[in-house]
Symmetry: C2
């Protein structure tokens, strides 16, 4: 619960994430806003499913008590889709409330000349069964085609990630499948491939779908050492050699790649989508 970006400061500012749904949108909003204040020391608490006026009033009271106890005005990020709940909460709460729907949905009603539904929890509900099925199919595909397990059906992939072992292929593949419904395979490039000097046979016919991940040798060394301490596989020398050979192979084959060392999975995924022109995939959830 504690996220102390500046542990030496005074007591952390209380932050509450409140919603009548999952609170996922509210938390995304809070994180986007709060990361703009890296010196803010805060303590965050998530309160989802506040779906009645009674719960809203009780939650506001609870937040007010924190203010009384700590002497600090809590920051509240909320997404209440239902007006009555939102009003009851905002009226009662003495914190600094940033309410997404009040700020954006109500003005948009005018622009569109259309009433909004004020329905609860629509955002992270399945838009339709088709969307859900696509997501599950993508996850199934990605699990089956993780780590070069099978070449069968590789042509069905929309993205095939390549790179040395432990360069971040699996998490990125799963993220693309989970969040965008993109069928993503991943295929390791191994010392054998570097010695031979050519891409694995199975990748030759799907070169337009390849995207590479690389990583700083020091970081790879740390990650591999966790798994197989003091092995040749994990040695810094071997990590350096594998990465150099892998980058050379990707360069020779015209494969776009980026380094996972300082990038989050989200940034890597967004870059892959832009590079391979997969923008047609709407973000799911």
């Amino acid at each position: 619960m504690t996220i102390s970006s500046s542990p030496n400061q005074t007591a952390p500012r209380p932050v509450f994430i409140v919603s009548d749904g999952t609170a996922i949108t509210a938390e995304t909003l809070a994180q986007a806003v709060l990361t703009q204040f890296p010196n803010l020391n805060y303590e965050q608490r998530r309160i989802p499913f506040i779906d009645s006026v009674e719960k809203a009033t009780a939650t506001a009271d609870r937040i007010n008590q924190v203010q009384e106890r700590t002497g600090m005005r809590p920051l509240v990020f909320s997404t209440f889709s239902r007006k009555t709940i939102s009003e009851a909460f905002c009226e009662e709460c003495t914190g600094y409330v940033t309410e997404l729907f009040r700020s954006f949905v109500n003005p948009l009603e005018e622009e569109l000349g259309m009433e909004s539904t004020h329905q609860v929890g629509e955002t992270h509900r399945i838009r339709n069964e088709e969307n859900y099925d696509r997501r599950i199919a993508a996850i199934d595909y990605t699990l089956t085609h993780d780590d070069g397990q099978t070449d069968y059906g590789l042509e069905e992939a929309e993205v095939i990630l390549v790179g040395v072992s432990r360069s971040g292929k699996t998490p990125t593949s799963l993220y693309l499948a989970m969040q965008f419904g993109i069928k993503t395979a991943n295929y390791p490039l191994i010392p054998e491939d570097f010695e031979r000097g050519t891409l694995p046979e199975a990748l030759q016919s799907v070169k337009d779908k390849l995207f590479g991940l690389t990583i700083a040798p020091e970081r790879l060394h740390d990650i591999r050492n966790e798994r197989r301490p003091n092995s040749r596989y994990a040695s810094l020398e071997n990590c350096r050699a594998e990465i150099a050979a892998c980058e050379a192979m990707m360069n020779r084959n015209g494969i776009s790649y980026l380094s996972s060392t300082t990038k989050s999975i989200e940034e890597i995924a967004a870059t892959i989508i832009a590079t391979l022109h997969l923008e047609k995939h709407e973000r799911i959830g």
Copy 2:
């Protein structure tokens, strides 16, 4: 790219998601707001990494051209962390712009008596290496403990999902690991368990971590039929029997469960976190 909620209406309203970072926050914002207008027919386009004044002006021009061509004012959802870029974009763009940072970050500066950084792309950057490592460790754990593959290390799990085959355990497990860094195992309950009438031996000592998933028999039948058409495994009769037995077993053992039939993975995950009191886990990314 097309998300036609009402295909019979006139031409779809153009929607643009623009950001100097990944555009993930902007897309989440757009989805949260637009799902409140289920009758709006729109066509959405994501434009990430607009990280210079030149790119911002060019993007605004491109959006303006869409307005001229279609005669419809585009809706724009943006998260520009840098003020100069945001201003250049907003000045040039004739669309209806909803800008997250301008709306929320600037007022918060006053409340906090603190300047924001206006740094690009901080939201979905890794907050620190520790956070990233925790995420990767959770994904590794979850993949290793998928589908009851091993009982070894089961006590390390923070959540163990149980349910019949294809009830949604794997996607939910991966989501909890990916988005919250929660080590999640999943364990199938199978006809053998129902005949014996007791939970699998390995789950006896970790009952406080169990959470169940159930599903409507008709839906399970459809899902299983995709995999193994016309099998006994997929038959509606068998699906009904397995689910009834599974729910009875979960009831007998006091295991909380919910139905994945009409819930999104996000909703299921948020409910599990609330039920098992795992709110300490901050959402990652």
